[in-house]
Amino acid sequence: MTNEQAVADIINLSEGDSSLANEIRELGGEELLECIQCAKCAAACPLALAGFSFFNKRVIQAVLMGLRDALLDDSSIWACQSCNRCTEICPREVNPFEIIQAMRRVAIREFALPTLSIEGLKSLYDTGHAVYLAGAGNTRNKVGLPEKPPSTVANPEALKELQAILRKTALAELGIIPMEEPGV
């Protein structure tokens, strides 16, 4: 048995934050309360199978009990693969994947996100790609492709448009990455 779970500590339910559940429901996890904790999703979840301390079912129970800090202090939710096998088999149509995404959205609003995610967002804003490798131009040439793919990398106007669009989203209000208008 390899799951590392907080079994050493006693969880004090009285310290649970009852507003967490509503926050999750407003951020995309609308069906949260439909969950009956049957564990069908957990049986198929890569996070559970890989031994992460939190995975779909456990995230939901923690949310229902209002254990905000336990969830924010743990990086498991950022390892979710978005494979959606849980969504496919959940008998209550809870969409556990969306609950995890909603928890990520809660975490972002508390600035509790891993460095890699910040870097991904910054890369998305600066280049239009979450993953951008600077030496990629050479690799592309090596196989006979133009240095730049036909994306925002090769089309500066498109990048500007994307950046302007991003500035109109919630990302801009959160101030996680610098998003100034160029030339301003």
């Binding site: 439909e34 209550r92 149509e93």
Partner: protein
């Protein structure tokens, strides 16, 4: 305004006259001499329930001076004997001819006060209640002044209506002293036997060739582990031989008309193509038949013939030809003459015909493929059509295509001595004994994509099947995957503990996937919530506890009777707690799994409750029709049919009379909801007890 008072004699007006007209005539008869009905008002303290918020004395004084009121009294508990006596005395002394009781709710107390009024000597419908408890003192407990004012208004409204109350008469309808039970499973059979033992004629209609239903397919039954067939067959035989029961198997209900006491039911006796009077159930024809058809009784795990007897203990034990799958051997199409053998000169018969020694199987007979349509007259009906086991196909994540992934009912047939393996525990793919068996609960139940309800019996039957196997083969490893363990019935917890003690392993965690392994083995994957870890199990056999579903075409059958199904597809009872066997249609009752998933003890209880309820009208011999129902002024009715479509009780029909169409309301079916009266564009329908005159008077009193 004082009007002259004349003591009216106690006249119970029979009202063959039409509604409104009668009321107005009656009133004008009184008013003709400036006579006003004499109303007595009785205000109840209801202990502190009313008096705690309402100033009862103040309301009484107010009531005294309302038009038409000749006396007003208040009392601690009007429903008590002395309280009722107050009313009776005033009536007997000739002081009043209308009664208003301002007290609690008519839902529970109207019958009590109606009886008091009748005992006093007045027509019991000359009573009006004002609910100054549920509608006044309770909700306005903090506002004493407001509550008292509201009580005055409510009393004034009741008095205004009482002014226009008409005497009404209960009607009685003769009851046909026979009953129909639809469904010959354990529920239907017990219901039929109770009624038959009471002395009533019972028609038992069953769509399969034999009675027995799903219980006949079980090996043993929990919690006693009785052999199912052993305890069921005596009941089947009783049903088959009871002098009062007419058994109509291989038959289905086609239409139902009429109302309580007088239902006319058309039943189609499907074509068996066998003369059941001659058939002895010997089975020779079955042995001779070469056809192969998936055997429904064995849940598709082996084949039967095209001519078949449903199962060895069938009642009645008669053969049936499944004409769709019949091969018509030797070109012996039904209803034709046999060809003659050119050499022997003998007729060339089909193997089944040749085998039959009694002449029951005679393919030369011109059978009507539609069977026979018969009509039955019954007073009450009980629907006990049982359930269907859900198929495993939709659950792709459980690899249903594997032969070793089976439903629990299929396992039941494997375990059963009359099943496809003669009771040997053999797994379907290779006939080998499984070394590891996994049971999966809640397949299709507690599942928004299929059935949201819990099928109730699966936890217990998985334990039962596991126990039967483990007791016989202690070395077989058995794992049961639950979400929750639901073993709430009598002796069930003991059963659960016994199973744990046998070493059957139980886990909590719904199974997420079943992978196929080589050798037709399976890998079951779940998350054990108690261990807190994902788990995997390699099994030889996986048993799915699939949901209990409503019987096929149940909704259609219900519709024929005017009964709806709930959102889950089972027939709707009248009241979940207090009236579980009654339906919204008087005279039609439901029992067993037709009403919802339940086990055998509960099915039997419900069946016997239904027969008891169904016997009441039969015993009384007549059915009371409350007069608070709608009536059509047929001379003025234009025959537009608006009311027909709106009636939720299917009580109205259009009839032709002297070339003119008009509505006719069936008194026994009408529930007095008033929709027709409100909707009638010509305004010619009267709802007795809630006439326009009465309602407008109430509105006027409330508004002033």
């Amino acid at each position: 305004m004082l009007y002259g008072r004349i003591i009216l004699p106690d006249v119970h007006l029979r009202y063959p006259l039409q509604g409104e007209l009668a009321g107005l005539l009656f009133i004008s008869l009184c008013r003709g001499g400036d006579i006003v009905p004499r109303i007595g008002v009785y205000i109840c303290h209801c202990g502190e329930n009313i008096a705690g918020a309402v100033n009862v004395e103040e309301v009484r004084k107010y009531a005294e001076q309302l038009p038409g009121v000749v006396l007003a009294r208040n009392y601690l508990f009007m429903c008590s004997d002395p309280g009722q006596e107050l009313i009776k005395q005033d009536i007997r002394n000739g002081l009043i001819d209308r009664v208003v009781v301002a007290a609690c709710t008519p839902r529970t107390h109207e019958p009590i006060f109606r009886k008091a009024v009748e005992d006093g000597g007045l027509n019991k419908y000359l009573l009006e209640m004002a609910n100054i408890r549920d509608q006044d003192s309770w909700p306005h407990w903090q506002d004493k002044e407001g509550a008292t004012e509201k009580a005055k208004k409510l009393v004034a409204s009741a008095v205004a209506k009482a002014t226009y109350l008409e005497p009404l008469e209960d009607r009685f309808v003769e009851v046909t002293r026979a009953s129909l039970v639809v469904g010959g499973g354990v529920s239907g059979m017990f219901a039929a036997l109770d009624l038959a033992n009471m002395g009533y004629k019972v028609y038992l209609v069953e769509k399969n060739p034999s009675v027995g239903g799903n219980m006949a397919k079980l090996d043993k039954t929990f919690p006693t582990n009785d052999c199912s067939a052993c305890i069921l067959t005596p009941i089947m035989v009783q049903v088959g031989t009871h002098p009062n029961i007419e058994l109509l198997t291989y038959s289905e209900v086609e239409s139902v008309e009429g109302s309580v006491g007088n239902f006319k039911v058309k039943v189609r006796k499907k074509q068996t193509y066998i003369d059941w009077d001659k058939c002895t159930g010997c089975g020779d024809c079955v042995n001779a038949c070469p056809a192969k058809v998936p055997n429904e009784f064995n849940e598709g795990m082996n084949n039967r013939k095209a001519i078949y007897i449903e199962f060895p203990q069938a009642v009645p034990k008669r053969a049936v030809v499944d004409i769709e799958h019949c091969l018509n051997c030797a070109k012996r199409v039904m209803g034709t003459q046999p060809r003659i053998h050119s050499k022997t000169g003998e007729p060339i018969l089909a193997p089944c015909e040749k085998a039959c020694k009694t002449g029951a199987c005679d393919r030369s007979r011109a059978y009507n493929p539609e069977g026979e349509l018969i009509e039955l007259n019954v007073g009450t009906i009980i629907i006990a059509t049982g359930y269907k086991v859900m198929d495993k196909e939709p659950f792709k994540e459980y690899s249903p295509q594997s032969p070793n992934v089976i439903t629990a009912m299929q396992l039941e047939r494997i375990l059963s001595a009359t099943g496809p393996t003669d009771g040997q525990l053999k797994r379907p793919s290779d006939g080998e004994k499984p070394k590891t068996i996994a049971f999966i609960s809640c397949v299709g139940s507690r599942d928004k994509r299929f059935h949201t309800y819990c099928s109730k019996v699966c936890c217990m039957y998985m334990l039962k099947e596991a126990r039967l196997i483990k007791e016989k083969y202690p070395n077989i490893n058995i794992y049961i995957f639950f979400i929750d363990v639901r073993t709430g019935g009598k002796d069930f917890e003991e059963y659960y503990n016994y199973c744990r003690n046998l070493g059957i392993r139980m886990l909590r965690g719904r199974v997420g996937a079943v992978d196929e392994l080589p050798g037709d083995r399976l890998r079951v994957r779940a998350f054990d919530v108690d261990l807190g870890a994902p788990v995997e199990l390699e099994a030889d056999l996986v048993v799915l506890a699939t949901a209990i579903e409503p019987a096929p075409a149940l909704e259609e059958l219900g519709r024929k009777m005017g009964i709806t199904c709930g959102s889950e597809g089972f027939l709707k009872e009248l009241h979940t707690k207090l009236y579980p066997v009654e339906t919204s249609v008087k005279g039609i009752y439901i029992a067993g799994c037709a009403q919802g998933p339940k086990d055998i003890p509960e099915s039997v209880s419900q069946a016997r409750a239904a027969s008891s309820a169904a016997a009441v009208p039969l015993t009384l011999g007549k059915v009371i029709v409350e007069p608070l129902i709608s009536e059509v002024n047929q001379r003025k009715c234009s025959g537009c049919g608006t009311c027909v479509q709106l009636c939720p009780y299917s009580a109205i029909s259009l009839v032709e009379d002297k070339g003119k169409l008009h509505s006719k309301i069936d008194e026994a079916l009408c529930a007095g909801c008033g929709i027709c009266a409100a909707a009638c564009p010509s305004g010619v329908i009267t709802l007795h007890g809630f006439t326009n005159t009465q309602i407008f008077a109430q509105i006027k009193a409330l508004a002033s």
